[in-house]
Symmetry: C2
Subunit: 243 residues, 2 copies
């Protein structure tokens, strides 16, 4: 259950397999795109590449740290630990995603917890390195800002969903999110428990199960333990837009 620190990993320095120019292919959109090879080398020097096992915590809410995360492999959930032990899963992150725990240039206190839902490989980069690059490459600053703006807009729309839609709409939305953003396939095996799916949809696990059951009875989906197949996407889209 301990994570593996690979400060001097073999395949890392020569760029085959970590956060540098060759780490992501050209067509993968990534926050580091505007950087030159030199700039990227500077950014990732001294970084730590770490492996996390399932359920391990990568960033812990309310603690202090100065690194930002670049996901290389695996999936992790980003969630807020509410007051009464109630969690709210904000989103799932995967390969290529860049994320700061909410403390970026703002006190370094993490505002949410990130933990692995599959084995995760990611790079921890010190946030101070980002600032230095702004002087050399202002497109990078713009890219970071765009990243934040997107995140902002995402949170706004999620906030509206969670507060203004009925449960079936929220579950439909969660299912479509998993299909389109995470697994990119109509049939997928979720790495999340029903409890966690409920935490994404802001309801109890019992309610989530009941709605999945309804969707099954209406032939919108097929489920077999943790395997979910979306049969009637159009109807789900309709329900998510509500209705």
């Amino acid at each position: 259950m301990t994570s593996t620190i690979e400060k001097n990993c073999f395949d890392c320095d020569k760029g085959k397999n970590c956060c540098n120019m060759n780490c992501f292919t050209k067509n993968e959109t990534n926050i580091f795109k505007p950087l030159t090879e030199n700039e990227l080398d500077f950014l990732v020097s001294e970084k730590q590449q770490i492996r996390y096992n399932v359920k391990e915590t990568i960033i812990k809410q309310n603690t202090s740290s100065t690194f930002v995360i670049c996901m290389k492999d695996g999936l992790a959930k980003v969630y807020i630990e509410g007051d009464k032990g109630k969690n709210l899963i904000v989103k799932i992150i995967g390969r290529g995603d860049f994320i700061s725990g909410g403390g970026l240039f703002n006190g370094n206190v993490q505002h949410f917890t990130i933990s692995a839902i599959t084995p995760v490989t990611c790079c921890l980069i010190d946030a101070s390195k980002l600032t230095n690059l702004f002087a050399e490459n202002n497109k990078f600053a713009v890219e970071l800002l765009r990243n934040h703006t997107k995140q902002n807009n995402y949170l706004l729309s999620k906030m509206v969903s969670l507060t203004q839609k009925y449960m079936p709409g929220r579950v439909a939305e969660t299912l479509l999110y998993l299909k389109n953003e995470i697994y990119k396939n109509s049939k997928f095996t979720v790495d999340l428990s029903r409890q966690e799916l409920a935490e994404m949809s802001n309801m109890t696990k019992e309610s989530l199960v009941r709605i999945l059951q309804q969707f099954k009875e209406s032939n919108l989906i097929k489920t077999q333990a943790s395997e979910i197949e979306i049969l009637d996407e159009n109807s789900l889209i309709h329900i998510s837009k509500n209705g």
Copy 2:
């Protein structure tokens, strides 16, 4: 009801009364703080200073525009127009607040509506000007990023409140927000209707009224039409933390 465009306003060019060095006093924290006088002059050249009357729209959700807003005077509500005509007021902005409608470096489409709840004076600055400054002054880029990070964290905590707290907790929070962030006084006259207070707290106006009534009966607040006085702040804090 029409807004006044003051392209060549008298007191604007010589810096007495608009978004330049002398517009905000030193101790007012503002996004433009890291800029030199020259940089600020560049930023605000060609800007438009505009007056809006109560209820006028400053930024309209789903429209396209390339300006960012710097509030000089008055109060405005930032809200999302949901699907079924249901609004969600995200926050109130006032003097010194800097805000982009969610389209900054990201397609220019506005993701929320901003409208005046008191007469508003603000400056509209073209977003493209921001980019140019990043090269000269990377502290400014950091400042913008900090601004976005804060906004992000605010949205996260608001999301948790709206989804995990009971109505009295949400109303208490709204009242404390108005006291601490907007009117900075225990006794204030709200520029918002009960309907709008409800839209801040994610409930119907009827529910909001009932809870205000309860707070009154418990001697936590005193209300007289649109005047609200907070009598027992500690109890409200306790209720907002829930309870």
